[in-house]
């Protein structure tokens, strides 16, 4: 009877700790920064799409191009423009700003992709050592 109880408790323990073990295993494999690198890459792709959209609509009348920028960039450009500037005046300054931000975003995302690639390579190396 006691043996059965111990067996049951052991089984319950393994079942209850299985996801945690999987998580810790994942954490061990990938490290805490793996996910943030991935998220940075996804955000870089999204920003690139936004910049492309703004450039595509650079000559479309009635579009608030500053309002389309990602929030961080929007705050940055609004600091440099006068508050009383009309949307047309703000739009006139956006082309160079977007090109600069696009270049910056490109370099950052490319760097993140290199980090991601290196992390994956080292992970592959570690896994293959266990064979």
């Amino acid at each position: 009877m006691l043996f059965k109880k111990i067996l049951l408790i052991t089984c319950l323990f393994f079942i209850s700790t299985a996801p945690c073990s999987a998580q810790s295993l994942e954490r061990k494999f990938y490290g805490p920064h793996y996910k943030s690198v991935e998220e940075g890459m996804i955000e870089g792709g999204r920003n690139q799409a936004i910049y492309s959209y703004i450039l595509a609509n650079a000559t479309t009348p009635g579009v608030d191009l500053v309002g389309l920028l990602p929030p961080k960039d929007r705050l940055e450009i609004l600091k440099t423009l006068p508050e009383e500037a009309t949307p047309e005046e703000k739009n006139s300054a956006i082309l160079e700003f977007v090109l600069g931000k696009m270049s910056e975003n490109n370099r950052r995302t490319a760097a993140l992709s290199v980090i991601w690639g290196n992390k994956t390579k080292s992970l592959k190396h570690v896994v293959s050592l266990g064979k």
Partner: protein
Amino acid sequence: MKKHLPIITLFTLLSISPLAHAQNLDDAFQYSLSGVTAQKVRLTLIAQNMANLTTLEDENTGLPWQKRYAVLTPGENGVRVVSVEKSNKPFGKYYDPAVPQSNADGYVAFPNVNIPDEMVNLAYTEMVFDSNITAFRTTKALYQSFIDAMK
């Protein structure tokens, strides 16, 4: 819940760009492509306007050449050329009774195309065209860096 509503709204406004449909590099390619196409249409129309600067009689309307311009609208795939419109600005006129198109008073109407306007439009359109090409190249480079990372 009501107490936190302004904070949630502010957070949402700050964290989400109004361009919810712009998500990845494939979208970026699509936007740049639409931008290049729209600017190409604008360049073609500017070239037409410049070429017809001295056209005193359009074979379709019988009037002097009317300035053409593209009507653009933002869309989910970037920008769209909705239509090509003719300008309704008044024609210029000069006195030359010898010209066959002159009216009873001897005045000839000439196209409502303004050369400085067209030149400024040409320079700006060319710049935006180049910007879209740069965006396309940057997206391509980014794509390539992602592919290289997976090798």
